[in-house]
Amino acid sequence: MKFKERRVRHILYILPAILFLSLFFLYPIFDMLRRSVFDPEFTIEHYVRVFREPVYLHVMWITFKIAAIVTLATIVLGYPLAYFIHKSSRKIRVGLLLFILLPFWTSLLVRTYSWMIILQRQGVINCILQKFHIINEPLPMMFNLFGVLVGMIYMLLPYMVLPIYSIMEHINPLLLKSAEGLGARKRQVFWKIFFPLSTPGLFAGVILVFLLSLGFFITPALIGGRKEQMISMIIEKQVNELLNWSFASALSIILLLLTIGAGIGLYLIFRRSFRREEIFGLAQ
């Protein structure tokens, strides 16, 4: 088949998806954009307000800060976990994956409440620690940044582990064997061959975790303290209670642009890893 014909066929394959996304995703975003500047006459007042009142940029900053901490934490916890699963025997692997996926399929709200039971002043952890006289006063693990981080890291860990794991599974083991054969030590094999080849998975995980954290609502609302305000909570109040859809749209568009910017930034950081893929190829 000629190259052009194949191209056309490929476009036809994704046409239904493009139509669906255009109707239910692109169109609402353009409508939101329209709403943010027409209220009903043209105005940039809402955008001016976001930058004029320091609270909104402050909350955006907090949102991005929390998202960044959560992302780093899931990398530190998730990468070793993915590696461990990759190296495990089949039986253990299935068990571990099940442990990760089962809570993943449970409702977010239920999991948030479970954490509240564990972390609260009279909760599981504090009761055990106090019973064994390790502490005298209950530790404040809820209604603060600690609680929010624990909750969010727990919810988002699967999104980091699974992409990394799936890429690890596709790294050509012959490359590792030949490196060993040429005299590389185990550590060199890992850091010079294995790890660089696994970075596409890391990239996918980082993108997923970071972007999902930006929109997190339930966990910071229930477990967070007064300082853990995320931009999603502000937007929600404007939409639902204050009915100020134009202002909410302006906040949302700014959040969208910052998110796209973050996505582009992450892509630029990880760009080199994609070319490595082409050079060394993945196992079939």
Partner: protein, 354 residues
């Protein structure tokens, strides 16, 4: 697989997909003789009480079926419904600020007061676009294990603010509404001089208590829950939820002094297809006979003044609008809040982060 078989497979899949999409858009055809209305409220025990006092008697008397749904106070949902022209709700129970703000956005039908016993209802419960249906209170609630009978408990907002005399973790709602009033009362402003609120003074007063608040609650069940497990020993709360916890044997109690009285209302979304039946329902449930039924199932006060005399004396101590309790409280000024809420919320959010 050869070309024609492939084509046949693809066609079948596409056909089935479109059939599914098409079928999901088909609506159930309503039988013309049976009419029904859709009433939407806040669910849980709150709606259960309305079902027993209003919905079921209404069905019995008129033969019209009441279909129930729930919402969580999403004014946005109502706006979306009315603006898109696809109004599927007929009567909605909303909070007071939603009546005023919704009316400003032109979301409701006008109430036909010729059908309503207007002079029996308290004047604050009458609005061109809504009728009040109950009184509820935001009050000080405390843990009775920590403050049993005989030990003085926080009995006004000055006490609540006094961390030396009444030490311990406490909670307030993560919202400026009612909190500004509490802050002013704690600062010594007399009950009848609250409105218009001195916002600067309120925030200064809140500064004194800010770091002593362990939990800023958002959901209605939180205060009762937090008190029950001893996570906090005092909090502001909605009286109905605390009453339920008390009945279940949890160590919680309500202090009526300096509580804030609020109202919930019936409204009809603009464009409702059963406007006439909706009006009939609102008229029916505003009667003193029905309003007196309601407190039997939930500790919320009637807005129909004649109804209070019809209520059993045993229920009175738990009702926000029994004569003893009502005089201790302040009725919230909804107009003031609707006007200032947006700017105060902005200031509140910034203040919370400091």
């Amino acid at each position: 697989m050869n070309g024609s078989k492939k084509f046949a497979n693809v066609s079948i899949v596409l056909f089935l997909t479109f059939m599914f999409i098409f079928l999901s858009f088909c609506e159930r055809k309503e039988k013309p003789e049976e009419r029904e209305i859709v009433i939407v409220s806040y669910g849980g025990a709150y709606q259960e009480a309305q079902r027993k006092a209003y919905f079921e008697p209404f069905e019995k008397i008129t033969g019209i079926e009441v279909r129930e749904e729930t919402h969580a106070g999403d004014l946005a949902k109502i706006k979306a419904m009315v603006e898109s022209g696809n109004v599927v709700w007929d009567v909605i129970d909303v909070e007071a600020y939603m009546v005023i703000r919704g009316a400003a956005h032109n979301l409701y039908e006008k109430i036909d007061y010729s059908q309503i016993p207007k002079d029996e209802i308290i004047p604050e419960g009458i609005h061109p676009y809504g009728v009040a249906n109950c009184f509820w209170s935001t009050v000080i609630c405390y843990n009775t294990d920590h403050y049993p009978e005989g030990i003085p408990h926080p009995s006004n907002w000055k006490d609540f603010w006094d961390v030396e005399k009444f030490p311990g973790p406490r909670a307030l709602r993560k919202d400026p509404v009612a909190n500004l009033e509490f802050a002013l009362l704690a600062d010594g402003v007399p009950k009848d001089k609250l409105y218009p609120l001195d916002v600067d003074r309120a925030f200064k007063s809140l500064d004194r208590i800010k770091d002593h608040i362990t939990v800023w609650w958002e959901a209605g069940e939180q205060p009762a829950q937090l008190l029950s497990i001893g996570e906090v020993i005092m909090t502001s709360a909605w009286n109905g939820r605390v009453y339920n916890a008390k009945k279940e044997g949890k160590p919680v109690e309500v202090e009526w002094n300096e509580g804030i009285l609020s109202t919930d209302w019936w409204v009809i979304p603009r464009g409702s297809k059963n406007k006439d039946i909706a009006m009939k329902f609102i008229a029916f449930s505003s009667q003193s006979s029905q309003q007196a039924e309601y407190p039997k199932y939930i500790p919320y006060g009637p807005v129909n003044l004649k109804a209070i005399s019809l209520i059993d004396n045993i229920l009175l101590p738990d009702l926000p609008t029994s004569p003893d309790n009502k005089e201790k409280q302040i009725i919230i000024n909804n107009e003031w809040w609707v006007e200032h809420q947006a700017e105060i919320l902005e200031r509140w959010n910034a203040w919370m982060l400091k």
